[in-house]
Amino acid sequence: MATPEEEQWLDRARAGDRAAFGRLVRQHHRRVWRLALHLAGSAGDADDVTQETFLRAWRAIERFDGRADLFTWLYRITVNVALNLRRQRKRVTTDIDDPRVPEPVSDGVSPAVAAEQTQAYRHLAAALDGLSESLRTTMVLACVEQVPYKDIAGILGCSEGTVAWRVHEARRRLRAALPDDAVSALGEAPPTGGPRGR
């Protein structure tokens, strides 16, 4: 359910108030972009997906009845737009300098270890890209975005059991796809890494 404040902005946006919709955009912009980045794989595509998502949302804002959280509705649009983009492109183009891969963190670890961890994240991003559409989307929503299974079920239109199974299967496949040293490095990774700026 939308918060009362969000409901206010929604009502005004439904009435055609762009400023009110702008508030909603600013509220969800980063989250939508982050999801788009992990689904699309490149920053440029993530920008395109984000813009298209909010454009679609604006055009269909009257169809959002407010029974669910706004972010689940936006996430559904994001997933659809990202999937459409990938299908159009046929081939996923990722930046050479993958924006998803964090920069090495030398805080408290040796440069060698930091480089290993960065490489491990590079492997992880590649393994994630190697998953099927449904597994990758579900895994990104569940683990990277940490959306509850119930909300994922609402976003993807499937049961919570299906979400759970996809997550379990994706875990298994990710482990199979990752080299052992990458897994070891991920296990030793610090709680946070330095985000790679753009």
Partner: protein, 530 residues
């Protein structure tokens, strides 16, 4: 270690401390170092995913992009033609190329023009009088088996108009043939025929276009005197009706027992179970949580088997209880645990899905939800054994009733060192066990603490920052002390965080104690964060 166990371990990663665990996973984690290592690897991957850093932009850049985005808002251009992929409605549920079409189960209230369930249901319930019920080919003679006319796509219902037409044509064909002179009729038949004729005559007074009574003179079948000759046209029709009715019931009987289509048969239980909350709350009739068709190994859930196997299991000896009295779980952490438990009950003991019709089978949520309910009965016998560990109450979870519960996967992962032998005696203190590491390495510490990020974030209740915790760990793996510094020190959030940390359980080591400083970095909560 087979794929089944791997999948179960992957499913058990969602388990919270007080949730029952799949007995097979619990046994494997207690005795199989490979399983423990695999669980730790999965946990490391999961942890890396959850703390995946987000590329950041300057606030001004976000604002600029938002402004540009708002400037581009506008109505949908009219007359715009889209390609096939663009034609998909972005507001609808996503469809995946790799997905079994039967896998999606949209809510009933959601419109779905391509609902495969609906299509299958329509095909199954198509009436014989509906469009397409009458075959385009001419109706066949009644000769032979009438069931030959029922193809696989038929609903089993019979069109009475079609049947009457067939009977009439048959009667006309019979009338065109010369009557056989030597045909004998059983003695009872004329009587029966006469009775039937009377009934038919009585009914034929009500003329309709459904049942056509052939002319009496057309009866050629019996060489009898004219008054005694039976008009076999209606008889044929009645016989046809009787045969058809028999075939209908026979077909219906076999249809209800045999699968309609493989896809429907494979998908229906899984598809309907999650949508029926009552089904999930029904008590499990049997401790075995695994569907027999899907379980390549025998179900390990028999209570009589659980006790002998679990009793001699090496258990960590708690050298001394933690000095800090176990405090009740903080409210946010408890809420999160409940939220995760809700997920976990569907996943903690997820059985291997049945052989997939496609690459990715649907799970069996119904069985998976039954599994945790079945598990306590199977595992309660184990802690009753004398060798059962006396785990700190706090580590069993605040939900209580945990004495007979199986341990969480994190505890079990910490129980067996990667190189430990399965049946090693656990009577000796950790310091006396030579195979234990002298101290915990970084991997063991992060492997234990990183999974607590979610609970710590829940404690923060939306606040962000860093929560450095100085943790003193006993060589039995229990937390002796946890002291928080930083911005949350001395606040309810800090107490909540230290409570979460105190319930952590590390692998054993040889040194008496080890002190580590671990900074929990609390990021902004994700949307609806777990």
């Amino acid at each position: 270690m087979d794929d089944d166990l791997r999948l179960k371990i992957a499913a058990s990663l969602d388990a919270v401390a007080d949730a029952p665990m799949d007995p097979a996973v619990a046994r494997a984690l207690e005795s199989d170092p490979d399983a423990v290592a695999y669980a730790r690897e999965l946990r490391a991957i999961e942890s890396a995913l959850t703390r995946w850093p987000t590329p950041e932009r300057a606030a001004a850049e976000w604002d600029a992009r938002a402004e540009a985005l708002l400037a581009a808002l506008g109505p949908e251009p009219k007359g715009r033609r889209r390609s096939g992929v663009e034609a998909r409605d972005p507001l609808a549920f996503p469809t995946f190329d790799d997905e079994n079409p039967m896998e999606s189960q949209p809510a009933m209230s959601e419109p779905n023009d391509h609902d495969p369930d609906l299509d299958n249901l329509t095909a199954l319930t198509r009436t014989s009088l509906g469009p397409g019920a009458i075959p385009s080919t001419p109706p066949r003679s009644l000769g032979g088996s009438i069931t030959d006319d029922i193809d696989d796509t038929s609903s089993g219902l019979v069109d009475i108009k079609q049947l009457a037409e067939m009977a009439r044509k048959e009667a006309e064909a019979e009338a065109a043939k010369p009557a056989p002179a030597t045909r004998e009729v059983p003695k009872t038949q004329p009587i029966a025929q006469a009775e039937i004729e009377k009934k038919i005559e009585a009914k034929s007074t009500k003329k309709d276009d459904v049942m056509v009574t052939p002319a009496r003179a057309a009866s050629p079948t019996v060489a009898e005197p004219p008054p005694k000759r039976a008009n076999t046209g209606p008889l044929w029709a009645l016989g046809g009706v009787a045969l058809t009715a028999g075939a209908f019931f026979l077909f219906n009987g076999t249809r209800s027992e045999s699968p309609t289509t493989p896809a429907m048969n494979a998908e229906t239980p899984a598809a309907t179970a999650p949508a029926t909350p009552e089904a999930t709350t029904a008590p499990a009739p049997t401790p075995s949580a695994e569907p027999s068709a899907a379980a390549p190994e025998p179900a390990p859930a028999a209570p009589a088997e659980a006790a002998p196997e679990s009793a001699p299991t090496p258990a960590p000896v708690v050298a001394a209880p933690p000095p800090a009295a176990p405090e009740p779980a903080p409210t946010p952490a408890r809420e999160e645990a409940r939220a995760r438990a809700h997920h976990t009950t569907t996943t903690a003991a997820a059985p291997t899905p049945p052989p997939p019709p496609r690459a990715e089978p649907r799970p069996e949520p119904h069985a998976a939800r039954e599994a945790p309910r079945a598990a306590p009965a199977t595992t309660q016998a184990a802690p009753a054994a004398p060798a059962a560990p006396s785990r700190p109450a706090a580590s069993t979870g605040a939900a209580g009733g945990g004495e007979g519960r199986p341990q969480s996967i994190d505890e079990l992962m910490g129980r067996v060192a990667p190189g430990a032998r399965p049946a090693a005696p656990a009577a000796a203190a950790p310091a006396a066990q030579p195979d234990l590491p002298e101290r915990l390495n970084r991997s063991a510490i992060t492997g234990t603490l990183a999974p607590l990020n979610g609970a710590v974030r829940a404690c923060a209740q939306g606040q962000t920052g860093t929560a450095p915790v100085n943790i003193t760990i006993g060589n039995d793996g229990n937390v002796r002390n946890a002291a928080l510094s930083g911005q949350f020190a001395g606040t309810p959030v800090g107490e909540c965080i230290t409570g979460v940390v105190r319930r952590a359980h590390f692998p054993q080591f040889r040194n008496p104690t080890q002190t580590v400083m671990y900074p929990f970095v609390i990021l902004p909560p994700g949307p609806g964060g777990r």
